[in-house]
């Protein structure tokens, strides 16, 4: 228990003193996960809206597929991206393996299905309300999709945050394609895994505390936004 209390002390020391190594890792984590989130929203929102607006043949199967991809294990995504980016792989010539870009690709593949599947659920309810009015007004599919995304924005923020939470907390994919290289591809989760196995519990705990506070504040922010939206009758 001595060690445990000491580790906490060390952790707070690192955070309060603004340890450069610590904040470099935090910064890279945020950069990778936020970029992956941005790309996922760019793909996921329109795709979710498309699944809602177009009742094409086989839509049920596509939805089931996207839904099941939400539970895809990160290590498997990591492995697939590794195979694609490794020197012998089809995209090996890009030389992206063990770079932040590779990590962004892996996390995007991981959370884009989550964003798409959850936005479909959020927008489906909205579409049920708007559909007849839109058909009466002769709104094109493209405009209907855009209107659903714009009007469902508060619900979609929650969706994005769910995706972000998954990306920032995930180890398996980034450690395989990033390699946890110091000052290059070391992010919070991979650093925690490494420092813990090294026995440097202070650093691991400091990162853990920051990771948890990010997760908590992101969720609080989402809740607050939702409450404001409901009061303004936008949700």
């Amino acid at each position: 228990m001595q060690d445990f209390a000491g580790a906490f002390g060390l952790a707070f020391g690192l955070i309060v003193s603004g340890d450069p190594d610590l904040f470099e890792i935090v910064g890279l984590s945020m950069r990778v996960s936020l970029t992956a989130l941005f790309l996922s929203c760019l793909i996921g929102f329109p795709f979710g809206a498309l699944l809602v607006v177009r009742k094409f043949f086989g839509r049920g199967i596509v939805i089931a597929l996207v839904n099941s991809m939400m539970g895809f294990p990160p290590v498997v995504i990591g492995l697939l991206v590794y195979l694609a980016l490794s020197r012998a792989g089809p995209m090996g010539w890009l030389g992206l393996l063990y770079s932040p870009t590779a990590m962004i690709i892996a996390q995007t593949l991981l959370i884009a299905p989550i964003v798409a599947a959850l936005s479909r659920q959020v927008l489906e309810a909205l579409q049920a309300e708007y559909d007849e009015q839109f058909r009466s007004l002769g709104v094109s599919r493209g405009r209907a999709m855009l209107a659903l995304i714009v009007d469902g924005r508060y619900g979609l923020v929650t969706v994005a945050l769910a995706g972000f939470g998954r990306a920032v907390a995930e180890v398996g994919a980034v450690i395989i394609v990033g390699g946890n290289i110091e000052h290059l591809t070391r992010v919070m989760t991979t650093a925690i895994a490494l420092e813990t196995s090294k026995g440097d519990l202070g650093m691991a705990l400091a990162l853990g505390i920051i990771l948890m506070s990010i997760a908590v504040s992101v969720n609080l922010g989402a809740g607050a936004l939702r409450a404001i939206a409901e009061r303004q009758a936008y949700a």
Binding site: L137, G138, A233, Y234
Partner: protein
């Protein structure tokens, strides 16, 4: 027999023979042997109905008579099981729908400001931003919501929401205005305003089809009345004749305030 189009365009001063305009007016509704069945159950069944292209037609009947379904059928939102619907000389479909506007019983408003709800429709048509803004203001003034332009639409009261829905419907400058019990459960002031706007639109060459089960409202608005009962067209006559001497038992009972099942 239709006149053949001249091969050489004639000067504008030469108007040529007048065709009977009513035949091509988009407001003239024509229904032949229309039937809608869901799971084998007949919901609407109308042998024949022809509506004047300009008057206010009120569709009356008890709940479940098929009034809302009728409106959706003629607007082309749902396809009939059998039969023929045409507007002017065009079969009911996307083309006719684009010249019409429908106000639903429960207004469906976008999660945006009052003005943005109008602009959503105006933006489909060409027009510069100042033009659209002026038109939006004109429409909101017409329904008494000019001072609410920047408010979230869904914070309006029920009556205000329905007035906004009506303004949005008028924004498309429809040839035909379809209203599905727009004033059910609204305050008297909103009801009066909506009725006035509807009558003004009708005077402005818009065909109006108004569904209601409020007898007083029907008397105030109707040029002609179509009475539906169990999905059947029981009567269709000019309003004065209908209210004075309803010919069917169902309409007679309905007008005298009896419960019609």
């Amino acid at each position: 027999m239709p006149d053949a189009a001249p091969l050489i365009p004639t000067p504008a001063s030469d108007a040529g023979p007048q065709t009977p305009r009513d035949r091509v007016l988009p407001g003239a509704l024509r229904i032949e042997r229309l039937a809608l069945e869901v799971a084998g159950k007949p919901l609407v069944n109308i042998e024949r109905l022809v509506l004047d292209p300009r008057s206010v037609t009120v569709i009356m009947g008890p709940n479940g008579a098929g009034k809302s379904l009728f409106l959706r059928l003629v607007h082309g939102l749902i396809a009939p099981t059998r039969g023929w619907i045409s507007w002017g000389e065009v079969a009911c479909g996307e083309a006719t729908r684009s010249t019409q506007a429908m106000v639903f019983q429960k207004p469906v408003l976008l999660r945006r400001s009052v003005a943005a709800n109008i602009d959503f429709v105006l933006r489909r048509r060409s027009g510069t931003k100042p033009e659209r803004r002026a038109r939006c203001e004109e429409l909101l003034t017409r329904v008494g919501l000019a001072d609410r332009a920047q408010q979230p639409a869904r914070l309006l009261s029920g009556g205000e929401q329905q007035r906004l829905a009506l303004a949005r419907a008028l924004a498309t400058r429809p040839k035909v205005l379809l209203l599905d019990e727009p004033t059910a459960s609204l305050d008297p002031a909103s009801v009066q305003m909506i009725e006035q706007i509807v009558l003004a639109s009708s005077a402005d060459q818009t065909k109006v089809i108004f569904v209601t089960h409020d007898v007083g409202q029907a008397r105030r608005l109707a040029g002609d009345v179509a009475f539906l009962h169990h999905g059947q067209l029981v009567e269709h006559r000019p309003a004065a004749a209908f209210f004075a001497t309803p010919s069917s038992e169902a309409a007679k009972a309905y007008l005298s305030g009896n419960i019609v099942l």
